[in-house]
């Protein structure tokens, strides 16, 4: 009887040692990560074409805001010059990333992940200690307030308190009423972050995008110091914008790529396969050979714009 009891205890002890604890089942995201641009390359590296709203479930309000955008704004309005991406876009922009685990000094439990991006020295913290969100009257930030929870080895993150920013870098705005959810998944040396943005002002349904990173232990994060300067003289009350119906650049993307103009205007109805049944024909046929962004490498090197 006694030996059976001891054997049972021994089996339990071995099982306890061999089975992963709750903490060790959680993925470790710390390290240097380099973004991979096999997804949405033209949008993310050289930058999106003006008027390219493809794949965005834009609301009518969001579309008019985007149509009104004049790219001069980011140079003429000095306060825009050194703005970083917001927390949702920073995971997508052209920037390397360092992730540091913040640990409780006593238990060694990871209480937060701190992110630093190369572009504009963006920083972001994802809290894992269950702390409450700030008041709605507290300041909003570019990175917002992110709280993560574990679902097996997936880190689910929900972010609020975001400043106005952009959904796409061609003038599609992102309002300060938006929130976003992320799902962080690590597969060996690869990291995939799926982002789901909900914006009741700009979008009619959640926008789902994903980004993939590769671990790069040799990566060194430098400084990216930005200083605003007046680049062109302007009157104080000038904010470059296109009046409704006057933006001359909105058809370029359809013309250049041989796309139906209606599809480039975005909207949830253009995002799903059923749209092909009603999609109009393009005004111009698609070019016989690649004409734009054909050999784009890192930082836009080799882009053949014609």
């Amino acid at each position: 009887m006694r030996s059976k009891f001891l054997n049972a205890c021994a089996v339990l002890a071995v099982a306890a040692i061999l089975s992963p604890s709750r903490a060790s089942a959680q993925a470790d995201f710390s390290g240097h990560w380099a973004p991979l641009f096999h997804e949405d390359n033209p949008e993310r590296l050289p930058g999106p074409e003006l008027g390219d709203y493809l794949g965005i479930p834009l609301s009518d309000a969001g579309r008019l805001r985007a149509d009104s955008y004049d790219a001069d704004r980011i140079s003429v309005v000095q306060e825009y010059q050194c703005r970083p991406h917001a927390g949702d876009y920073m995971m997508r922009g052209l920037s390397n990333m360092r992730v540091d685990a913040v640990r409780d000094p006593v238990t060694s439990r990871v209480v937060a992940y701190h992110l630093r991006m190369g572009f504009q020295e963006m920083e972001r913290t994802i809290w894992l200690d269950g702390r409450p969100r700030p008041s709605a009257n507290a300041p909003y930030t570019w990175s917002g307030f992110s709280v993560g929870t574990w679902q097996d080895n997936v880190m689910n993150v929900y972010t609020t308190h975001l400043k106005e920013n952009y959904i796409r870098r061609n003038g599609i705005p992102a309002s300060d009423k938006r929130t976003f959810t992320e799902h962080w998944v690590r597969h060996g040396n690869y990291l995939t972050v799926q982002t789901v943005i909900t914006d009741p002002v700009i979008l009619t349904e959640p926008l789902v995008r994903s980004q993939t990173w590769v671990l790069d232990p040799t990566q060194t994060m430098g400084r990216d110091i930005c200083e605003t300067v007046p680049e062109v003289p302007k009157a104080a009350d000038v904010v470059p914008n296109h009046l409704p119906g006057t933006n001359p650049f909105l058809t370029e993307v359809a013309d250049w790529y041989g796309l139906p103009a209606g599809a480039t205007r975005g909207g949830a109805n253009t995002m799903y396969p059923e749209y092909r049944k009603t999609m109009p024909k393009p005004a111009n046929p698609p070019p016989a050979m690649c004409m734009r962004y054909c050999n784009c490498g890192m930082n836009g090197a080799g882009c053949a714009l014609q």
Partner: protein
């Protein structure tokens, strides 16, 4: 199951539910407003929920308030102030004349009974003029009660472009912003704490109330916001640094002011273009020049609706 019954039982139940709802509604109306106090930066705080936002600066010299909320909430506001400081309230600055920012003036003035630590109420002279004009006229033969009439008015007025003072160890600078949301608006810069109290010139989350009847104009509003952008200096990554307490809404910084300013400029440009095309006010309203901003700036409880904002822009451009 009960809701499927017919007859007197159901009628009685419905009446009870309606009565209970009415009682709850009355009780809620009688409850003091739920206020929230947040530290903005250093020794400057903001109280939310008592009408317009109230900015509080504390220190050894006493308490300085920017705006006094509504009459109904002043007691709760003072209770919040007392959680921060037991020192006397020595200064009250009115950013403008509206009752949700000056409603507590009289009660605060009545409470300041120590002549050695008096309450000075400061505002631009236009605020004093308009608040005085709104007082009831003296009756024929009435010769007393003048002091009581003056109680709560910003008689410590200024008529210059700016006014400065030092209180609680930091420079406090008032700037008159002419013909913006009204003709008597003031920004209050706490230079040491690096905080600006902006009053209703800046109302993130809602269109500005450009009070044409009290001297407001859209061009003055834009000019004032541009001045606010000069007063604010952002911190690292273009956020934080100088914080701004708006007249209504959350604590902000320069980037938030930029978005608000840009919205007004863009709407101004659209309305001006329509005026140049000889469109009438009704036609401009029907064209909905704010339709892309409405989901962000208009809610069911908004004080300023889209048409009202468009009309104020139109009036400012055609006067």
């Amino acid at each position: 199951m009960m809701w499927t019954q017919r007859g007197p039982e159901r009628t009685a139940l419905l009446a009870a539910v309606v009565l209970a709802g009415a009682v709850v509604a009355v009780a809620r109306a009688q409850q003091p407003p739920a206020l929230e106090t947040l530290q903005v930066q250093h020794n400057v705080y903001a109280i939310f929920g008592g009408g317009g936002n109230v900015t509080v600066q504390i220190g050894d010299d006493g308490v300085l308030l920017v705006d006094s909320g509504t009459t109904a909430s002043v007691e709760a506001i003072v209770a919040e102030v007392r959680k921060l400081s037991k020192r006397p309230i020595r200064f009250l600055i009115n950013t403008h004349l509206h009752a949700d920012h000056t409603g507590g003036n009289v009660a605060l003035a009545r409470a300041a009974t120590d002549p050695l630590e008096p309450l000075n109420i400061i505002g631009h002279t236009r605020v004093l003029s308009r608040m005085t004009a709104a007082l009831p006229a003296f009756k024929p033969g009435e010769t007393t009660g003048g002091a009581e009439r003056l109680r709560g008015l910003p008689i410590d007025e200024y008529f210059t472009a700016s006014k400065d003072m030092r209180f609680n160890g930091e420079a406090v600078v008032l700037y008159h912003e002419a013909n913006a949301h009204t003709d008597g608006d003031s920004f209050v810069l706490f230079r040491g704490s690096d905080v600006v109290s902006a009053g209703d010139i800046f109302t993130p989350g809602g269109y500005p109330f450009i009070d044409i009847a009290n001297g407001g104009t859209v061009q003055g509003e834009i000019a004032a916001l541009n001045h606010l952008l000069q007063l604010t200096v952002p911190g690292h990554t273009e956020e934080g640094g100088t914080y701004v307490v708006p007249g209504h809404g959350r604590i902000c910084d320069e980037a938030d002011v930029v978005e608000f300013r840009d919205m007004i400029v863009i709407v101004r440009d659209r309305v001006r273009d329509m005026i140049n095309k000889k469109m009438t006010l009704d036609q401009i309203k029907a064209a909905r020049p704010t339709r892309d901003y409405d989901p962000q700036y208009v809610t069911p409880t908004s004080f300023v609706k889209a048409d009202q904002f468009v009309e104020s822009v139109y009036r400012g451009l055609t006067r």
